[in-house]
Symmetry: C3
Subunit: 451 residues, 3 copies
């Protein structure tokens, strides 16, 4: 049941998955879409949507590059491309099996590597494609590695969230070690609970594309890290004053947000996990429309609220409003009343605008606003399924709390181990100089002096 | 006839759409592609191509960010993400119905909201996918919301064109109000005339993917706005001298152009409106090839002409040459002689190079060159269908004039109302300071001083 | 045999292509995917993956923009959009026929233009889609122009590699002339040897998506050009000292790398050349997974090695490590043991880190590191097929040497002709001033002073 179970928590997706094997045995006159055609559609959906989600890694890189100060820009670029790379390797070596292979309630298999199925190997290696060989492959519903690829890019998304919050002060290699453990073990274990068919899935917890499982998970890891790591030097004065440390390149941050928005169609759309029936195609159309509407609602709400609250519109709030709207709809983008998507996303935008100053009041230094957008809106979106969708509010809350508790404990342990062994924070002088000079020995913009 | 009618004006597309229902009744041996398979293909085409067109919003944002001065860069970013968001919501609330629902010659339905069809709701909500449920969904040819999404991103494109021309001086909120009315009412009304199956469609006006209906419409709104708003302070001297106000970040403008080019494959390719037959697939291949060749022609022509005219090659002319080539082919990208695409696009590139100084002579201040690229080339491309394609030159000209007149009148009324109520222009001091500081209270590049 | 033969060298792809015509004659019960459905899948794969590869042109533009100094940034942007445009036109006018039409061992047809097939024209122009018309089109397996488009973007990739190495000193128009000949004649001739079904293909040389045929070809042209052109003024001191000339915008370079990575899924995935069977879909899933894993391996290896060698991590090495990993897997991304992809890509990352200082020792000035990433890793990846894949190491080496020799000779002749006629290098004063001011009369970042 590898990878298959992500759909078990989805009212729409599950029908398609159950329908697929039936189609194989039905006569051609009844089966409008042949099993092999459905297999191609499903596989192609995974690889195309997976590529779109991979592209979100560029979005995070640009968003974070634009929101840090220029003395730390090259470092945040390096962190982003490195974390994606580490995520890819670790999820191949350990993570995927832990999340999807033989999950028995709490945890999958600790086996190493993950490869193409025997049926596919047989078909690929055969001199001729016989009906039996094709049938054996098609029975799985989609190609094994297409699912691996699609799931891999999700773990990278979770890891990307962490880098932005902790930017400008966390050392490169300790961050990479955290990412390694997060993507190899922590994320897959909690992922197995729902998408792997574990206990939360059995309880009826519903998180279509990962408001909690991906976004809040990244958000929790970021929040715990931010508390343990402490704020940037000079951010919070003793007198309670907050010193703004404005991002150095706002068009890049805007670009990053657009990249995320674009990639999110793959994130939510591909989470239908199947394209091989009219039902799946209809569902995916709805997923695209709702995803877009929620982001629109987030932007508009954030713009209006900042105008009302501050008399100005803040570009970074609008950008995080878009992301907040997207995260908010991610737990339940399969709503058939699309108007609710605007509302759910709009509330996400409001939450972002309210949570940013709240974090500052708590002296939690989140460089890019990832905690409001991914954690707060992730919780909201997951609960919204219990309000607007088919889920139960209680079950949704249980999922949020369980995964939150797991993430707080595991992240805290890991961050503290790193803190008291290799150390996680650059020195004061290094922070003033900037990580680019200290850790990389280079400048992101050597010619655009601030003098 | 929702959304369906966009294809009525297309010689190639219409065959495919007519063929689709036939396939459903034919026997399996004759129908090579089953109705359900075609439904999936058509729906998937819409969502993938729609996502590519959504990505063009990022292209406009980057193009315009790169071509304004840095003191207005954050504002233009905010305008771009906001206009896309407003377009999405308004086209959902009002616009789509006005353009596609029960169009009777001039106008569609003024009903609110637009949602999934009853047939799709029944399939999605059923315990089991029966043949009858599937057949009821498949009969429509594609999923209802996939078409909505695809049409939505087109209205956003039209709105994106306006922001660039009016940059650096138009106030944020009045611009957003204009965008709201443009995307909710103005664009949909003229769109109904052709793509909604209205009077221009009945007359035989042909605009495959919207040289006129999308690009000129945006261009007219921009032109009228530029005249009413006036030029930027200091742009045109009393002695007729034009003061160059060079864009602050040309690599971003280059990136934006590449994004537009990439997204245009979705724009023109998806406008086939169907992928579910060999004919459609062949047509789409031709659309991709012609789109690419026309853009290539635009770049090469613009480079050569600027070299000849000025002894230098101007990067921004090359970029606008690409866009001009793309706009020029958009009315008729279904040419089967691909060589003409290079010529049509090349003429677009020439028109851009000639129109830019002409606008300056008329003291019409178009910050990014959107009027040459989208309006002038939009007209040229629409007329070109009457020369190289299947259309009649007279009918094409009627469409250009009718839509132009409608846009001039409605835009002028709306801009003037805004001018004499809320005001549309920032004050002189604010213009000197830049909109980023005044309206947003932030800087796009706080560390890259000009001092 | 137009375009078709690219697959002949591919163990996996060839089965699918052979199977396609068989499916047409089989009875519906046996043929799970109808011939027309397969035709649509294959065509759609080409256009979508082709668009992704087109997008790589933006990646090269951003990578190179970020790695040159700001005084040459606008020029490198112009070169990138121009070379893509020239490639598109020349490959339409001459290149494609030379590479794929009636290849007899060494060379294809020198005929002009390339257009839609008669069968497709008949179907597109018919009043009704008859079975006979559809069958005639479907027999080809895919739409003719979709293949043209897909092959076109590959030649543009090869040309893109050259611009980066020679940046900051080569004149615009001579570079464009070189690109014209490269894309019209040089690339197609060597491409015909393998993908056109020529002598290397008959010998069994295997280069799945073009480690040698695309990347090394660009790399050889760049290397020869770099030697003939000479290093940038001041780069190499008489005392053997190397003066660093750091890139002016590293986030853009990072963005460019992510764009390339994203586009590479189209590059390698689309090179399966077919999607219309379970076998093809399985193969494509594997191609996506391996492509991703190799890039991950390249990044991680480059980061670790630079840390070990220099005590710092170099962002540009990590970026080139990603590209090196991608190039390395491109000759054989169809490995079914995915672990080897990490190793092959990782070795690519190591080669990049070692080759960059080696080139400096040889006083070969490669501005962006394209020779290590594309030429060195291209050779490595091609040989790796003889080690890990189905190919013979000897045959692979013959292909590498033959194409290398051809490229060295033809490039040298062309560069030398240009050098001694129009001249290829800007003057010393112009080099100091920067090409943007001299050749374009503009600045890429007029407000971000270096004073």
């Amino acid at each position: 049941m590898k990878g298959f179970c992500k759909g078990l928590a989805k009212s729409v997706g599950v029908l398609a998955l159950l329908a697929a094997p039936l189609a194989l045995t039905a006569s051609p006159a009844h089966a409008e879409v042949s099993g092999e055609t459905a297999f191609i559609f499903n596989t192609f959906l995974f690889v195309i949507c997976g590529a779109l989600v991979m592209w979100m890694a560029a979005g995070f890189a640009m968003l974070e590059s634009g929101l840090v100060r220029s003395k730390n820009t090259a470092t945040i670029c390096l962190k982003n491309i490195s974390l994606y790379s580490v995520a890819g390797i670790m999820y191949y070596l350990i993570g995927y099996n832990l999340m999807y292979t033989d999950v028995t309630g709490w945890i999958g298999s600790f086996s190493l590597l993950y490869n193409t199925s025997d049926a596919e190997l047989a078909l690929l290696g055969a001199d001729e494609s016989t009906e039996a060989l094709i049938a054996a492959v098609v029975e799985n519903g989609y190609s094994v590695m297409s699912d691996w690829f699609f799931q891999m890019v999700f773990v990278a998304t979770a890891a990307s969230i962490v880098s932005g919050t902790l930017a400008e002060r966390i050392k490169f290699w300790p961050f990479i070690i955290f990412t390694t453990v997060l993507t190899a073990i922590i994320y897959p274990i909690q992922g197995a609970w729902t998408w792997g068919g574990g206990w939360l899935s059995e309880m009826g917890f519903s998180d279509f594309a990962g408001s909690t499982i991906v976004h809040s998970v990244g958000g929790w890891a970021a929040l715990v890290g931010a508390i343990i790591l402490g704020a940037r030097k000079g951010k919070y004065g003793a007198d309670g004053r907050v010193t703004p440390m404005p991002g150095s390149n706002l068009p890049l941050a805007t670009l990053g947000t657009f990249v995320l928005w674009f990639g999110w169609f793959g994130f939510n759309g591909g989470s239908q996990l199947a394209l091989g029936s009219a039902l799946d195609a209809s569902a995916i159309a709805i997923l695209f429309a709702n995803t877009n509407l929620a982001a629109c609602g987030g932007v508009v709400a954030a713009c209006m609220l900042t105008q009302l609250m501050y008399g100005k519109i803040d570009l970074t709030m609008a950008l995080n409003g878009a992301i907040g709207g997207l995260v908010s709809i991610t737990a339940g983008p399969d709503l058939t009343n699309h108007f609710w998507s605007i509302i759910i996303g709009g509330i996400g935008g409001v939450l972002v605008v309210l949570a940013v100053p709240l974090l500052d009041k708590l002296k939690i230094d989140d460089v890019v606003g990832a905690i409001p957008a991914h954690l707060v809106c992730g919780i909201w979106g997951t609960l919204a399924v219990g309000i607007f969708g088919a889920g139960s509010l209680v079950t949704q809350a249980i999922g949020v709390v369980a995964i939150g508790a797991f993430m707080i404990v595991t992240s805290a342990v890991l961050w503290l181990i790193l803190k008291y062994t290799v150390g996680i924070r650059v020195s004061e002088e290094e922070e003033v100089m900037g990580q680019d000079k200290v850790e990389l020995g280079m400048e992101a913009y050597p010619e655009f002096g601030r003098n």
